[in-house]
Each structure stands twice: as C-alpha cells, then as structure tokens.
C-alpha cells in the first residue's frame, strides 16, 4: 500500500475536464492551498466545484474562477468573492446555492451510502424548487440527495502514510466529511508522519477514505478578517 505522493502536481494526476471536485475549507480556513494552486497551473476546464465558499478574488477557489476553469459552483456562500457574485448575477457561471447544513449532510450521506434523506431547511423558500416534500411530526421537510464526486481534495494538520488524518481547530469544517465522498480523495497535510505515530483515538478521518497523501509546503493561511482585542 503506497498512498504517499510527492507533491500537489503528482496528487492531481487524473483530474480531467468536466470533473466534479469537492474542496475542503470554510472561507480561507483549512483550504487545500497546494492542490488549488496546482490545478490553476493546468489547462483543466469545465470543473464543477463543490465547496462551502468560493475563496477571495486572488486566493483559494477564486483563482480557478479567474482563470475560467469552472463551469459550475455548488456552495452555501460566495459573498467574499466579488468576481463570483458578479459572475453569478451576470449568468456567466452556473451557481447552485445550498444551505450549509444541507450541503454538509448531503456530502456525509454521499460518503455513507445514503442516497436521500429529509431535512427541514429550505422548506417554503426557493431552495424547495421541485423537491419532494413530506411532513414528519407536524413539520415540513424537503427530500435531499447524497453528493459524491470524482475527486475530494482536503487539507489536514497531520496525516500518516496510511491516510489517517487529524484536523486542527476550525480548519476541520468540511474537510472531514468531504474526505469520505470522493471517488479518489487527495489529502494535503502540514505534517506527514509514518503510520503508527498518530494516536488512533484522535483520528478524525480514518485512512480508508484517503487514496493519495502528501506533505504540503508554503502554506499562506490567509486570514480574511483579523479581529483582535484592543
């Protein structure tokens, strides 16, 4: 079993035009910086990108958008990226806005083999669309379906050579659940260690879900809003 790859360029091999890719992160926190950069350096186009947010104009997924590599974005909030909001309003980019909790659960369900489930979020709003509606315990719910993707690209604090991952603080967010839902999951980690090093009690994502892992480099870890105590 050898899951370790050299770097992001090797990790993204096999990603081609028109694929669907899950990207971990919340805002710029916990995003797979190396892989996004590597993708932006290719000619791959027509991607459907699934991520909670869309990065900012010049960092994170915003870079893929600026290079017109994205056909469709599925997200819960694209507000920090002016170019996204503009492309959404002009119709240049197909955008599906999904309530954040529903998005997380659809991905969890996808990785867990649950094809569909009912949740209350979005009932009575434009999110309802043509979805099946059912009443449970006197409240209305929408039928939502599980999400899987060709690739899932996640970022962790620690990973071992068997693909076990540990995330740091709020940099976990969507990474843990997305790792389960990619046909191929790529993990870039701040520190890659030999298996046996990490405490089995502390693993967030068991290695079964991870196919490729590498130690990332030069993490910028940008902060969107640096608020401090005066």
């Amino acid at each position: 079993m050898n899951k370790v790859v050299k770097d992001a360029n090797e990790a993204i091999r096999g990603i081609t035009d028109n694929m669907t890719i899950l990207f971990g992160g919340f805002g710029l926190c916990g995003i797979p910086e190396n892989c996004i950069k590597a993708l932006a350096a290719t000619d791959i186009r027509g991607l459907t990108c699934i991520s909670n947010n869309a990065g900012v104009d010049d960092f994170g997924l915003g870079v893929l958008l600026a290079k017109h590599q994205m056909k469709k974005m599925m997200a819960s909030y694209v507000g920090e990226n002016k170019e996204f909001e503009r492309q959404l309003l002009s119709g240049e980019l197909e955008v599906e806005l999904i309530p954040q909790g529903t998005l997380a659960e659809r991905i969890r369900a996808g990785g867990a083999g649950i094809p569909a489930f009912f949740v209350p979020a979005g009932y009575g709003t434009e999110v309802q669309g043509n979805k099946e509606v059912r009443e449970f315990k006197g409240r209305m719910h929408l039928l939502e379906t599980g999400i899987t993707a060709d690739f899932a690209i996640v970022k962790a604090r620690y990973g071992d050579t068997r693909g076990n991952l540990i995330f740091n603080k709020t940099a976990n967010n969507f990474n843990q659940v997305m790792a389960t839902a990619g046909k191929i999951t790529i993990a870039e980690v701040e520190e890659l260690v030999p298996y046996g090093t990490l405490d089995p009690n502390h693993i967030h994502t068991p290695g079964i879900y991870v196919q490729r892992i590498f130690q990332g480099t030069n993490y910028e870890k940008r902060i969107e809003f640096r608020i401090t105590h005066q």
């Binding site: 919340f26 710029l28 709003t125 902060i223």
Partner: protein, 218 residues
Amino acid sequence: MALDKDGIAKRIAQELKDGFYVNLGIGIPTLVANYIPEGMEVILQSENGLLGIGPSPNPDEVDPDLINAGKQTITATPGSAFFDSSASFAMIRGGHIDLTVLGAFEVSEKGDIASWKIPGKLVKGMGGAMDLVAAAKNIIVATTHTDKDGKSKLLKHCTLPLTGVNCVRRIITDMAVVDITDAGFKLVERAPGVSVEEIRSATEGSLVVEGDIPEMNF
C-alpha cells in the same frame, strides 16, 4: 428615543439563561456576546465547528485555524470543543441550541423571515441561516424596526426571497419587543421614550396592542 445597536443587543441579552447554548448571527447579534450578565454561563456555538467561542484574540494569539462563522479570528474558551461541519449542523438541526439570534431584512406577521437575498443586488448565498431558522426552537430576530429609507421591516407579507417560513417567535428592534402570535404581531415592550403610536406607524403588518405596554427595563 430608539435604541442603538448596542441597546438592541443589551435587551436581547436579557433573554439569556444560565447554561444556554446560543448561536449568534453576523451583525447586531454578535454584540449580544458583550452583554452576557455577570456570573451567567452562556456557551456560544459557531456553525463552522466550535462550541465555546471566546473573546477576540490578542495580536500575538491570532490563529488562522480559529475563526467564527463570519471568518473573523477568535479564541476558544476553556472547556470548548471542536467538531466538523456535519456534526455542527446535526447539533443545530437536532434542536440542541437553546437560542438563535439573527438579523433580517423583513419579518412577516406569520413569522416568515427574509434575510439572505436581494434579487439583482445581493446574492451572496444563505450560508447556515436556513438551517438555523428551520430547526431552531427559539429564534429571536434582532433588527431595526424600519430600513434606512424609513420603510417598515415588520410586514404583512415578506417581499424578498424567504429564509424560512413560520419560524420567528420574537423580534427585538430599536423601538420595541414584538412577539408573533396567531393574531399577528403583538407588542410586548416599548423602547424607553418610544410611544405605541410611533411603533404602530413603523409596523406595516397587523399589530395587536393590549393594555398598557411597558417600557424595556435596563
């Protein structure tokens, strides 16, 4: 005299109880954290995976891996817990949060809320708002009573795209505390120095006023 943002936050803080788990939305709701009564233990949940939001960090404590739902840097209190996004929304959707406070563009007299989209102008996305209002057992909307053009935000029917239907129970504005009942908006309290008439003319939806309406008590 209508309240300022901090006044609204101070009044909302009076709804807190010891041991409450609370989710505070972006904007005015975040100010509620500054007015938690002395000695009361309230635990703040951040939808991106933290139970136990602490105060803003000192400049040397800033951690890019530790942010709130508004993408601002924060700290975590002693006794806090980190978890992933699916667990965070399971906590929310499963009705485990005692109080949710969020802002709104409009609220209807049936408790509908519009807070996320202005067609053609503001289409940033709904984030976690729809999940919060759909499942929360106790929702307070924090808002100005009218918008910057003087137009009422408490309406018969919302005109903007909805975040949720029939889900708001109490609205706390710069002018009043208003509950939502089967008969429409019901006036509960007036901001100090604000009259019932002023509140009536600022409320487009049906407003039920029964008896003497007390002033907010600070």
